[in-house]
């Protein structure tokens, strides 16, 4: 597929760079990770709705890492890496918690779970990204969120 966007975007395509942050387990870190994802998605030329979805998915992953993974433990860190490979945005969020088995998560759309006050984060991540991968780190969990840049554009 030929490149849709001229401008200087070809620079990021040919020279994919990865930014990695190591952050404390706090809400400030969540906000920072979210903002970085938002900037990255905008820079990649995504439309506003897609920028919102990517930023929200990344925020949810960071919330999981800080809250459910590290339980706000000041001794534990989260790492967040952001990469534009040219055809995808790849965001990895890792924690140092007890680990998460996605197979054990209740379905938030099941009638008996609809009125629960929590449990929608991973569902939203899966809804908004093209690929979501879980990796056990022993200790901890790494989520890889991938958004293909081709599908982010409204093809005309």
């Amino acid at each position: 597929m030929s490149r849709q966007h001229g401008e200087e975007e070809h620079l990021t395509g040919s020279k994919a760079s990865r930014i990695t942050y190591t952050l404390e387990s706090s809400l400030d870190s969540v906000n920072r990770v979210e903002q970085t994802a938002e900037q990255m998605a905008k820079k990649a030329g995504m439309e506003e709705d897609e920028v919102f979805r990517v930023a929200m998915a990344v925020r949810e992953a960071a919330v999981n890492a800080v809250l459910h993974g590290n339980s706000y433990d000041p001794e534990k860190r989260i790492t967040a890496s952001f990469e534009n490979t040219g055809d995808s945005l790849v965001i990895r969020i890792a924690d140092q918690g007890k680990g998460l088995d996605p197979a054990t998560l209740p379905d938030p759309l099941a009638p008996e779970n609809l009125l629960r006050g929590s449990g929608r984060g991973i569902f939203l991540i899966r809804s908004f990204m093209d690929e979501v991968h879980f990796k056990q780190l022993h200790p901890g969990t790494e989520l890889t969120l991938i958004k293909h840049l081709g599908t982010a554009q409204t093809g005309s």
């Binding site: 969540v30 925020r59 759309l109 609809l114 929590s118 929608r120 939203l124």
Partner: protein
């Protein structure tokens, strides 16, 4: 960045005008406290005006659900007014759109509450 919250009374209905973000650590706790205060004062007809809520995360969605069930369990009614497209879409994909009573006009929303 954080959420703002104003309270109005119209014909026995308490309208909470929310603006900003309802997210973990920002609007969620404020909303929970506001609902608890209202219920403590016996105000059980609650209308959440979300016209100026431009962002809500899974924690905020969970808080809306908790507010809804808490009010209902105390014999009250909590309804939503004026959803932005983002919030509307989120409630749709989480299948909550049919759970909540959602209005898009304030006057008819107020009229929809049962009279005492």
């Amino acid at each position: 960045m954080s959420m703002k919250l104003n309270t109005r009374q119209v014909d026995g209905v308490t309208i909470l005008d929310l603006s900003g973000r309802i997210t973990l650590g920002e609007g969620s706790v404020q909303l929970r406290d506001a609902i608890r205060d209202l219920l403590g004062k016996g105000q059980k007809k609650i209308l959440l005006n979300l016209a100026d809520v431009n962002y809500i995360d899974s924690s905020g969605i969970g808080e809306l659900v908790s507010a809804y069930t808490t009010v209902r369990n105390q014999g009250g009614e909590l309804k939503l007014l004026n959803l932005t497209k983002k919030v509307h879409d989120l409630l749709q994909i989480t299948k909550l759109y049919t759970v909540f009573d959602i209005k898009d006009d304030e006057a008819s929303a107020i009229a929809s509450y049962a009279r005492v």
